[in-house]
């Protein structure tokens, strides 16, 4: 948890120091009505955004849909694991010596399966039972295995593994028997173990892979959704001309900050709900999502969702202020989403490849791609707490810079109507 707690504490402490220093610099200790009015205006705008978004059908349906997908992602693997439990039924025709029977049982145990022996009076009966599914495999007089359908080269199911193991091990037992070895020799051969295999990289749990995967997808889906809300919301205020009424009472930066905060809080609430739901469901059904470093990856996902939203929301708000029609928004949205898509695809690729590359480590320090890359690095156990903190601080610093530029673009563009505002025009003196 130190990955998350330390950066959060540092950021909170830095913010407190910064606000205190600003207070000392800007005004005496007397009450500051302007500050109260700024806070109040930002709060009012944020509350309106939250209320309108939470009421919307898109939010309700979207949340339910995501919860259903998360539930499926947790429950289906658990059900799949549980479905291995029914024992394999082995039909036995003729005599099966005790030593062979022991070999069959140890073979089943080796592939993680259980067995149930069924006595078959004849080969004919065994074939009938195979066809009806009453037995899975028939052993004919310890000499031959009979199964329902031929094995394919790519079949890696437990059934296929068991058949192959039985064929090999029972055949080996027959060979040992035919060699007329002494008891001690037979026991030595029977006790033969496969050579241990070790890897030079540290081991990873499968659960972390799936958690990283879920986290990266969650970040991408939510950043796309909420930044689109920002983009469309700003554009609609401009196109509906309500912006002039609003800006006659509040400053552009207050309006912009309120909007970013309001939509951001809705995003954080939805993400927290999803994570809490995922953890609770995992615990309830016994999923391995709550084991190992998976909870850390989930919390890291939340942190980077917030940081990613904070970075991109200003960019999208500035872009929204330059458009006043839907088609203009679409032409702006594509280039804005490219760094996000790049980070997302790279992170997904790394999760499936199984080990972090240098490229992923670089992307984890770049604010546009860090929200996708850093949680994956955490999942791999390839990021120390100070690396995590460094990335957080870089992201926060860049977000402050981006917010300042975005506020300027917003202020200069939001009241300009009559077509899409070009970046060149925003920074030219003629259109201050």
């Amino acid at each position: 948890m130190k990955f998350v707690l330390i950066p959060v504490l540092v950021v909170v402490a830095a913010l407190r120091i910064w606000t205190r220093r600003r207070r000392r610099q800007t005004s005496p200790r007397s009450p500051r009505p302007w500050l109260t009015s700024i806070k109040s205006a930002v709060g009012l705008v944020a509350v309106r955004e939250m209320r309108e978004r939470l009421r919307g059908r898109i939010f309700k349906v979207g949340t339910v849909f995501i919860l259903v997908v998360v539930a499926a992602a947790i429950i289906i693997p658990v059900l799949h694991n549980n479905s291995r439990q029914p024992p394999q039924k082995i039909g036995v025709v003729g005599n099966l010596p005790v030593s062979f029977r022991t070999t069959v049982e140890s073979s089943a145990k080796g592939v993680g399966d259980t067995l149930q022996f069924v006595a078959e009076p004849s080969v004919k009966h065994a074939k009938v039972d195979l066809r009806s599914g009453r037995i899975d495999i028939a052993i004919i007089n310890g000499l031959q295995l009979v199964i329902g359908h031929p094995l394919s080269a790519t079949n890696s199911s437990v059934d296929a593994q068991l058949v192959l193991a039985l064929a090999k091990n029972v055949g080996f037992a027959r060979a040992v028997q035919a060699a007329h070895l002494s008891t001690s020799q037979s026991e030595t051969l029977a006790a033969a173990k496969a050579l241990p295999v070790t890897s030079i990289e540290s081991g990873r749990k499968r659960a972390v892979d799936s958690t990283s995967l879920i986290g990266v997808i969650l970040i991408f889906v939510m950043l796309s959704q909420y930044n689109t809300w920002i983009l469309i919301g700003v554009m609609e205020e401009k196109s509906s001309r309500v912006i002039e009424v609003l800006l006659s009472a509040v400053r552009p930066i207050q309006l912009l900050t309120g909007k970013v905060m309001g939509i951001g809080l809705v995003a954080l609430a939805q993400a927290s709900l999803i994570v809490a739901f995922a953890l609770a469901l995992s615990r309830a059904v016994g999923s391995n999502l709550t084991h190992g470093t998976a909870p850390l990856v989930l919390v890291s996902t939340l942190v980077w969702l917030v940081l990613g939203y904070a970075f991109y929301s200003w960019v999208y708000a500035a872009a929204g202020s330059m458009a006043e029609r839907q088609d203009q928004v679409q032409s702006l949205a594509l280039p804005l989403s490219l760094p996000m898509i790049f980070g997302y695809v790279m992170a997904l690729t790394q999760v499936s490849s199984g080990y972090p590359t240098t490229l992923l480590k670089i992307l984890a320090y770049l604010p546009p791609t860090a929200p996708f890359a850093m949680p994956v690095l955490v999942g791999f156990g390839a990021a120390t707490w100070w690396e995590f903190l460094s990335s957080v601080l870089i992201s926060v610093a860049c977000t402050v810079g981006v917010a300042r530029v975005a506020a300027t673009v917003y202020r200069r563009s939001i009241l300009r109507t009559g077509g899409r505002v070009r970046v060149r025009e925003v920074f030219s003196d003629a259109w201050r």
Partner: protein, 317 residues
């Protein structure tokens, strides 16, 4: 032509006007958009207790002026004063504004939207809700408080917009074309509201191209053209300003020949037996009356007031 005389202000903005109660003072406003001059050294006052009509042809700079009051456009030069102080954000929160291009959240409920806008102007939630209900009642759309704005007719949306400008009891009301698109009853309602606000001490300025309505509603007008002030003054003074104009109808003399050749009297129009005369200052109207009587029975003899539309046309060419 009247130009505002300001004893304490200059276009340079160096001298500060003396503090006055509820007076909006625009001083030397200038704004260029590329090669286009929107405002050029525009200076005028809007006193409290009056409804002031803000007139000018299309593109004269009315909307830019109104937006400048609210800081919605940057100025190349000039200052907007309110009661002797430069207008800032805290003053603007006490102003009411109805922009030319109407703007409300289309999908938001009328009552909630007004409450929200009231709160942005510093009202408490309860006060804003009560004021919203009161203004909707007064403007005749109380039953639409729970409707979405987009479900309202154009006229009713206009009334909601008006309520948004009024509900925080503003000290200054700036309305850009508030009468556009309203039916006669709507114009009556808005006119009554503006008069009431002005009587209560509010400064009211609104732009319009409906000059007859402006003449009925306003005590004063400001006329600008190409970003410059061309006329300002009280409507009744403007109506009686300039050379006296006399309308005379004499039975039996439809050509107005009785008036020709009189020193200081110019016949401006003869139409349908009615003769319009323009009199120099030294012309005695009693003498004219006697001359007209000599030509026949007088059925009309009246001094004509100048219509605002005439003042406007003369002012902007």
């Amino acid at each position: 032509m009247w130009l505002v005389e300001l004893s304490t202000s200059t276009s340079s903005g160096i001298l500060y006007p003396e503090p006055m109660a509820n007076v909006l003072h625009l001083e030397g406003l200038s704004r260029r958009f590329g090669a286009l001059t929107a405002l050029e050294d525009l200076t005028f006052d809007v006193p409290s207790g009056q409804v002031v009509g803000f007139l000018g042809p299309n593109g004269a700079g009315k909307t830019t002026t109104m937006r400048a009051i609210f800081g919605l456009t940057d100025l190349d030069a000039g200052v907007v004063w309110w009661n002797g102080g430069v207008v800032g954000q805290s003053e603007r929160r006490r102003f009411g504004y109805m922009p030319e291009e109407r703007g409300l959240y289309p999908g938001m409920l009328v009552g909630e939207q007004l409450t929200y806008l009231g709160r942005l102007h510093g009202m408490s939630a309860n006060a804003a809700a009560a004021a919203a209900a009161s203004w909707l009642e007064r403007l005749g759309i109380a039953d639409r408080a729970k409707s979405k704005v987009e479900a309202l007719s154009h006229g009713n949306q206009q009334r909601v917009q008006m309520a948004a400008a009024l509900l925080h009891d503003p000290e200054l009301l700036v309305l850009d074309e508030p009468l556009a698109g309203l039916d006669p009853s709507g114009i009556d309602v808005i006119g009554e509201v503006l008069a009431t606000q002005a009587r209560a001490g509010c400064c009211v300025i609104f732009s319009s191209h409906q000059l007859d309505q402006v003449e009925n509603l306003c005590e004063s007008v400001v006329i600008i053209d190409q970003g410059r002030l061309v006329v300002t003054g009280r409507v009744d003074e403007l109506a009686t300003s300039g050379p006296r104009r006399l309308v005379v109808r004499v039975e039996g003399d439809r050509s107005g020949s009785w008036a020709s050749g009189i020193a200081g009297v110019t016949i401006s129009e003869v139409k349908g037996g009615v003769v319009r005369l323009v009199l120099d200052d030294d012309v005695d109207s009693d003498s004219l009356l006697a001359l007209a009587r000599g030509a026949g029975r007088i059925t009309e003899f009246v001094f004509e007031r100048r219509r605002l539309s005439e003042v406007f046309r003369e002012a902007v060419g």
